[in-house]
Amino acid sequence: MKLISSNKQAVSRQKTVNKRFIVRLFLIFALLLNGKFSFANEEVIVTDSAKINTESAVSHAESTGEHGGEKEKFNAGKLIMSHIGDSHDWHIYGSEEHPVSIPLPIIIYHPEKGISVFSSSRFEHGHVSYEGYSLVEGKIKSADGVDIYDFSITKNVLAIFIAAALLLLIFIGVAKTYARNPDKAPSGFQNAIEPMIIFVRDDIAKAAIGEKNYAKFMPYLLTIFFFIWVSNLLGLVPVFPGGANVTGNIAVPMVLAVCTLLITLRYGNKHYWQHILAMPGVPKFVLVILTPLEILGIFLKPFVLMVRLFANIMAGHIVVLVFFCLIFVAGAASTGAGFGAAIPAVAFTIFINALELLVGFLQAFVFTFLSAIYFGMATAEPEHH
């Protein structure tokens, strides 16, 4: 951060701001990097969806079958799903036999045994059982067959914490600067944040909701806009603390869409409900068809919001990974082919990553804009004819 003036007071204030920023940054990352590294054997591929279990069961059997023999064939599907899915440890680098990863805490509630908290390194990447629990294809199963509740801090949960910590770091700093000098022109980092906040306020909130009601929705709109954008950007960074597929995991957009739905239902006024349940000026026999469709529409709109964000981000990550896997698939044929395939693959990957930067921002904007439109429809005043 450059010095702002030669005035001694301003210089010392700037130095304090620098020191505070660095101390905050250090504290937050020290908090998050508390886990220790672990070395162990084969890493287990983890996926969220139960439907993919059959495929990973087959590949798991394949890989254990070839344990004693030569190196197993490169399985592109397995690699891609392992990068997109969630897992109980954060894999940093290293092959399947000798991975270097950060073990994350596992928190399980068993209806009879109660709550257990332990590090995922106890499972040694799926090879060992611990306290009657074992890691089977990324899911924790109890030896006595009872259904357990898994509240673990997985890779995606930690990535959400990191995104939240980054957002708090940026915005609390900026807000404090504004609170301290409300009439001063913005300087430094404020210059970057202020246009974005003005953009959300003017082009999203005021445009969609209107002057009268937009203020009470601003905190929520700002939060989802910056959270989705930061999560998308962090997902593109290949190294820790980035690289986790947060918005591409269907749970996160689902929660955001449910929040939008709840706010829309909470702030819907009489005019809004009347238009849904009994649209005025429509004959009764049409109403019989129209009302169920409108009620379906209440739930369908946030659902499409969720699917749009999830599919865009997941598809982007898959495309990048597929381009990289082309190198290894060609390399399996011959090493020369692998090196040859690397040049166009890297070029395509750079292009797709640049496109993903745009898509990350665009999806955050579209999600926020459509949420604002739904809020605007919910709080719209009836026009007087």
Binding site: E55, G77, M81, R308, A311, N312, A315, L362, F369
Partner: protein
């Protein structure tokens, strides 16, 4: 005449999934091509509106792509299961 049991083959499900994804790509191509075309035409008619038109074009493209990528996501889920 092959028996209908060929439909039970897992390879058939994956073939169907990939064909579905391809059709979704066709739909996305037509939709976004239309949007881009009309945006360019409007920019040619009124060059001073260029900024507005570009932003609105991107928004409409994101909405169309949402639907197409929903089909692609479904194809992934079916194809990998």
């Amino acid at each position: 005449m092959t028996s209908l049991s060929i439909l039970l083959d897992a390879g058939m499900a994956q073939a169907g999934a990939v064909i579905g994804a391809g059709l979704a790509a066709v739909g996305a191509g037509i939709g976004i091509g239309n949007i881009g075309g009309s945006a360019l035409e409007s920019m040619a008619r009124q060059p001073e509106m260029k900024g507005d038109l570009v932003s609105n074009m991107f928004v409409a493209a994101a909405l169309v792509e949402g639907v197409a990528l929903a089909a692609v996501a479904l194809a992934f889920i079916v194809g990998l299961a």
